[in-house]
């Protein structure tokens, strides 16, 4: 509370205790009367009363200090903390019965004591556990161990969209693709009558292969019960009906989806600016299509939003397929950065071409040295290298070509191809190293060359490539923003 000072706090204290002496039903009326002309004070006391209900066992256990290695909670062995969510600390844990890795989350202590909430939670978790969709982190179990509730779900390796947003808005094509992934996952859940209730960038993870996964389906929103206001949920992503304690259905998720998409496309929450349209008001077919989807999701009245989550999927799909959807600058020459040779994108392109040429050189040497080794070994090495070099080379040239011709797709393509390129690079590195070892005694110079290339590949792989790619992505993002603000003028 910004305006809280000791005097107002004393007044809030007086009202809080006076309200506590009344029955829960009478409290609202009492506060309305006592704070007739001071809404802020009333809200403060109300919120304190709501938290008082939760604070029952809070601070009851004395603090402790110490170490523990891989503590067991029931059959779960905690491995390490992986993050702090809205509901508590999340651990990577091993389910020792099944030997699989899970995300292990302790739910707030107060939840276990609240029989009604626990029942609702159980009900929701049971429904959500039936949901199996690549865009949803599957819930495995809701465990009650020593009077404490734990949510056990699929462990997803990746970054949250909140982390991604730290670097600013995403390229529009990525936003549409992300939106499509989210809408498909939501559609699958909504088909089964499961509502997320707390969709926000913190609850969405992007996996290594670029797909999105929604976590905490069905249970995240139970942090707030409708009878308590103001609720301790995430107000910034709540739909109007959620904020006002109205009936919450799948259309509340669509509202939150609208906010998330807006945030991804513009880098800011829609209501950070006074007018939604002002931020996204950019001509261009993709922008228009996305904007229409977002605007419809953000309708105040649920009846004016999409009435069918599959319609969001359809609309986003058609936005993707528009031939003119690529919001790229006019020609290949315009797509190149104007800052000259030293720019990060240039380096990235140079790196791709240089490495591809390097593959050719390596292949040539492997071919030439083939007869030196006993029987088929040289031959096999050469063929393994051919496979690796072809795979990585084709992907690198493909990415380079995409950047020059279809820049809007580059970001997504790069994410998808990355792992394969690295795999192929690793294969080539190992091949070169093997060749070096085999030829080591008879042909020390050639061996040195092979070991040298293996080291070179390793350095490029671990240090140079990640750096140039990161720099290029950053520059690419900036350029996209640039070209869009250019359109606006």
């Amino acid at each position: 509370m910004t305006t809280m000072n000791p005097d107002r706090w004393a007044e809030a204290n007086r009202l809080f205790h006076a309200a506590l002496e009344r029955t829960p039903q009478d409290r609202a009326a009492f506060l309305d009367e006592a704070c007739a002309d001071d809404e802020q004070l009333r809200d403060e006391v109300r919120s304190l009363l709501a938290f008082h209900e939760e604070a029952d066992r809070f601070l009851d256990t004395p603090p402790a200090d110490g170490v523990r290695e891989g503590q067991m909670v029931g059959p779960y062995q905690l491995i390490r903390e992986v993050g702090k969510g809205g509901m508590g600390v999340v651990y990577l844990a091993e389910d020792t019965r099944l030997g699989r890795m899970v995300a292990f989350k302790a739910l707030p202590a107060a939840w276990a004591g609240d029989a009604e909430r626990r029942e609702r939670l159980r009900h929701e978790a049971r429904a959500a556990a039936m949901l199996s969709h690549p865009g949803v982190a599957t819930i495995y179990a809701l465990e009650e161990i020593e009077n404490q509730l734990y949510l056990v779900s699929e462990f997803v390796r990746g970054e949250t969209l909140r982390d991604e947003l730290q670097h600013g808005r995403l390229p529009l094509s990525v936003v549409v693709e992300t939106g499509l992934g989210l809408a498909e996952a939501l559609a699958a859940a909504h088909d089964r009558g499961i509502v997320h209730r707390d969709l926000k960038p913190e609850n969405i993870l992007r996996t290594m292969d670029g797909r999105v996964k929604i976590v905490d389906f069905g249970v995240a929103g139970l942090g707030s019960s409708p009878d308590r206001s103001p609720s301790p949920g995430t107000p910034a992503y709540m739909s109007p009906e959620q904020r006002h304690g109205g009936r919450v259905d799948f259309r509340s998720d669509l509202y939150a989806l609208g906010i998330v998409l807006h945030e991804l496309a513009c880098g800011a929450h829609p209501f950070a600016s006074s007018d939604v349209r002002a931020v996204l008001d950019v001509p261009g077919p993709l922008e228009a299509a996305l904007e229409a989807v977002i605007a419809r999701c953000l309708a105040e009245d649920p009846a004016e939003r999409y009435q069918f989550t599959h319609d969001v999927v359809t609309d986003l799909k058609s936005a993707c397929q528009r031939p003119t959807a690529v919001s790229a600058p006019a020609g290949p020459s315009a797509s190149l950065p104007s800052t000259g040779v030293a720019s990060a994108l240039w380096w990235w392109q140079f790196h791709q071409i240089f490495i591809t040429a390097g593959y050719g050189v390596l292949l040539y040497f492997l071919w030439m040295t083939r007869p030196w080794s006993a029987s088929q070994v040289g031959q096999s090495l050469f063929f393994v290298a051919v496979v690796g070099a072809l795979g990585a080379g084709i992907l690198r040239v493909h990415l380079w070509f995409t950047l020059r011709s279809f820049p809007a797709d580059w970001f997504g393509q790069r994410k998808r191809a990355g792992i394969w390129i690295r795999l192929a690079d690793a294969t080539l590195g190992i091949t070169a190293l093997t060749a070096g070892v085999i030829y080591g005694t008879g042909h020390p110079r050639a061996a040195a060359l092979f070991v040298g290339s293996a080291v070179g590949i390793l350095v490029a792989f671990t240090i140079i490539e990640p750096a140039t790619t990161r720099a290029a992505s950053r520059q690419f993002g900036k350029r996209e923003n640039h070209s869009r603000s250019g359109f606006r003028r």
């Binding site: 809280m4 000072n5 000791p6 706090w9 004393a10 204290n13 809080f16 205790h17 506590l20 919120s47 304190l48 009363l49 938290f51 008082h52 939760e54 604070a55 066992r57 809070f58 601070l59 009851d60 256990t61 004395p62 603090p63 402790a64 200090d65 110490g66 170490v67 523990r68 290695e69 891989g70 503590q71 909670v73 905690l78 390490r80 903390e81 702090k84 969510g85 809205g86 509901m87 508590g88 600390v89 651990y91 302790a106 707030p108 202590a109 020593e146 404490q148 734990y150 942090g223 301790p232 949920g233 995430t234």
Partner: protein, 176 residues
Amino acid sequence: MSPDSVDATSPMVEELYRELRRLASGYLRRERARSVQATELVHEAYLRLLKDKHPQWQSRTHFLAIAAISMRRLLVERARARSAAKRGGEQVQVTLDEGLLATRAQSFDLVALDRALVDLARLDPQQARIIELRFFGGMTVEETADVLSVSPATVKRHWTIAKAWLLRELQGGSSA
């Protein structure tokens, strides 16, 4: 000197702080996988210092009132040091006890609680002190009332609203 007038810079707080830290690391060395409860530590420190017939301690409550300040400092500093080590990318091989607590009854970190207590002290210093004495010092309502020279009912009232306020502060911070 009234125990309540003791502040965090008092030499007694400093001395107790060192004693508690020594005891804590002794515990943890002896029994690797065990955690130490603050109250346990305070109790042991009390017995130890009682043997020394320390003239400064006027009573058990006086001792506890000072121990609460030392304990708060000790726990918060350790929590802060550990989270700094984690951020620095150092290999943390041990999992820490805030985690253990989080899976049991508390899901907040002590550093955040410490910060919230500083804010609360601006609104009502006595409420912040009550939390410190009861939570970090492990004192009962009656002992707290005795130290602060107020009625137990007052301690209970302050405890109730301060807990609600702190919980809101901590949850608001983590869900953003």
